[in-house]
């Protein structure tokens, strides 16, 4: 099982492959499309990530010492972004998620590329995942 660091490195290399932002977005969208949907009954307001322009539902559960995330979003780009985060964070020890430094968002340039409101939404997703991780590692 790859570590959080290794997962990030894989993403960075994947994105380095594309020169054009439209192609990078296309990749994000494909990741969004391949993320399994949450069942409708799980998409309740308690799971909504605050501060996102579109609706993003984030669910976390603990499996032994690992934290398992699942998520959905009503907009596909938001879903693609949360899919990347899940790729990096899910199925990792909760303590490591809580302590992890996320460098891939900056390395692939996504954080700078998003408008400020969307970048805030992205940071809210990260924050929410870390909250869950903290709660589970306590």
């Amino acid at each position: 099982m790859a570590t959080i660091q290794e997962k990030q490195q894989i993403l960075i290399e994947e994105f380095a492959f594309f020169d054009e932002w439209m192609d990078k977005y296309n990749h994000i969208i494909e990741m969004g499309k391949s993320l399994p949907m949450l069942p409708e009954n799980k998409k309740n307001n308690d799971l909504l990530v605050p501060g996102c322009q579109s609706k993003v539902w984030l669910h976390a559960e603990q499996h032994e010492d690992k934290i398992i995330f699942s998520a959905d979003a009503d907009a596909i780009i938001a879903k693609g972004i949360v899919a990347m985060l899940i790729d990096v964070f899910s199925n990792q020890p909760a303590q490591e998620v809580a302590a992890a430094e996320l460098k891939f968002l900056e390395d692939i340039g996504l954080k700078d590329h998003l408008s400020p409101t969307r970048a805030n939404g992205l940071m809210s997703m990260v924050k929410q995942m870390k909250y869950y991780a903290l709660a589970f590692s306590a």
């Binding site: 977005y25 579109s54 907009a75």
Partner: protein, 405 residues
């Protein structure tokens, strides 16, 4: 003067730039319009040559600034065909204008009366009236609309009744583009003795308005949607109405005498203009009005209308495309959804291709609820937009949809 969109574009240097490596296509005009050189020059000329506070000094610069500001008041009067310049109030914007009236009516509107708006108002023509109703105990009603985004006029006589204090509605919907039948609504209000306020946020840049022939009590405009500076609104009010209501802000400029115990208010228009006004904005707006009128609002509107028709026709070929708001009488706003695609995603991918549109609820959450949608993509056109830009928009849209679906 013949309408030449390429000559017009030269007056808007901001349009000549690339966004994400693609030529900018600016279709967010219903949010704010770009400013022509004449407006930018008028503002810098003010700061370079005659910046001073108005109405106070006897010195020359103050006199020049005051004259410039007052001549814009006269220009606005002529533009709206108001009876006198004192009926033209400079405010901070449409929101400020509507709040001034809604607050001013706090002592006159009573429990048992009602305030009427429509189902297609933006939040700034909803919330101030909700607040007025909370303060006074009056009832807030609305005139409903149908699935095309047209007001249901058969309901006029039911909704507006003997107890209606004021009817406040937009001339043109920012979300749907619907042009509302102003005179019909005003005449029903008059029949029962209700006051009227028309929100001209979207009509200012597109249509000729004659407040006297409408016989409207209050009318409000936004400078920045009319190619003028931000932070400035116009509030027209009939003299007798403005005299009857209380000012909502106290301060300098709006008083005639002040003692520590009591002040008396100045006459119109100053009673509603507390504090130092937005002088540069007013002067810039004067230049914007002159610019619009030299081109001619009818020519502008005809150009925008053909853009709207072209865009609507071209878009309708896109699978799952649905116009939100297909009133027979429509201004240059194309609001739409595409089945299975979120408006935000379209907004992001259009932006990547240099195309600026608005996505979301457009400050009209009740309209979104009425159509059971999360939001729309809105392309809105102005005098400087071209058919070629619509072609870029259509191909950008198709590309985005093919990526998203």
């Amino acid at each position: 003067m013949a309408f030449d969109v390429h000559d017009i574009r030269e007056q808007f240097p901001i349009l000549n730039q690339k966004v994400h490596g693609k030529p900018l296509v600016y279709f967010d005009n219903a949010a704010t319009a770009q400013k022509p050189i004449a407006v930018i020059k008028a503002i810098s000329d003010y700061y370079l040559n005659y910046n001073a506070n108005v109405h106070r000094g006897v010195h020359t610069l103050s006199q020049r600034a005051t004259d410039a500001m007052e001549s814009v008041r006269e220009q606005v009067r002529a533009h709206l065909n108001a009876a006198e310049a004192a009926e033209i109030i400079f405010t901070r914007g449409i929101t400020d204008s509507i709040n001034a009236i809604a607050y001013g009516l706090s002592n006159t509107v009573q429990k048992g009366q009602n305030v009427v708006i429509t189902a297609m108002e933006h939040h700034s023509n909803i919330v101030p009236w909700q607040m007025l109703c909370e303060r006074t105990g009056a009832e807030l009603r609305h005139l409903p609309m149908d699935e095309h985004g047209e007001l249901i006029l058969d309901r006029l006589e039911v909704v507006i009744d003997q107890n209606t204090a004021i009817v406040a509605f937009n001339h043109i919907s920012n979300t749907l583009g619907t042009i509302n039948p102003v005179q019909k609504i005003i005449s029903q209000a008059k029949k029962v003795g209700a006051w009227t306020l028309v929100d001209g946020a979207q009509s200012g840049p597109h249509t000729v308005v004659d407040v006297q022939s409408w016989d409207v009590d209050f009318f409000t405009l936004s400078s920045h949607k009319m190619y003028g500076p931000t932070g400035l609104g116009i509030l027209y009010g009939k003299r007798e109405r403005l005299e009857a209501i209380a000012p909502y802000q106290g301060g300098g400029e709006m008083i005639s005498t002040v003692t520590l115990e009591k002040s008396t208010y100045a006459g119109l228009p100053h009673k509603f203009e507390a504090g130092t006004p937005h002088v540069e904005g007013i002067i810039g707006f004067g230049a914007a009005l002159k610019f619009i009128n030299e081109i001619g609002i009818e020519s502008i509107s005809a150009h925008e209308q053909s853009l709207l028709e072209y865009a609507t026709k071209e878009c309708s070929g896109i699978k799952g495309f649905r116009v939100i708001g297909n009133s027979k009488n429509k201004a240059s706003v194309l609001s739409f959804v595409i089945d299975g695609v979120h408006p935000y995603d379209l907004g992001v991918l259009l932006d990547q291709q240099g195309i600026a549109v608005r996505t979301g609820q457009h400050c009209t959450q009740p309209i979104m609820d009425a159509f059971c949608i999360e939001g729309t993509v809105r392309a809105s056109f102005a005098m400087y937009n071209t058919f070629e830009e619509i072609d870029s928009f259509i191909s950008g849209l198709k590309k985005a949809v093919s990526m998203l679906l």
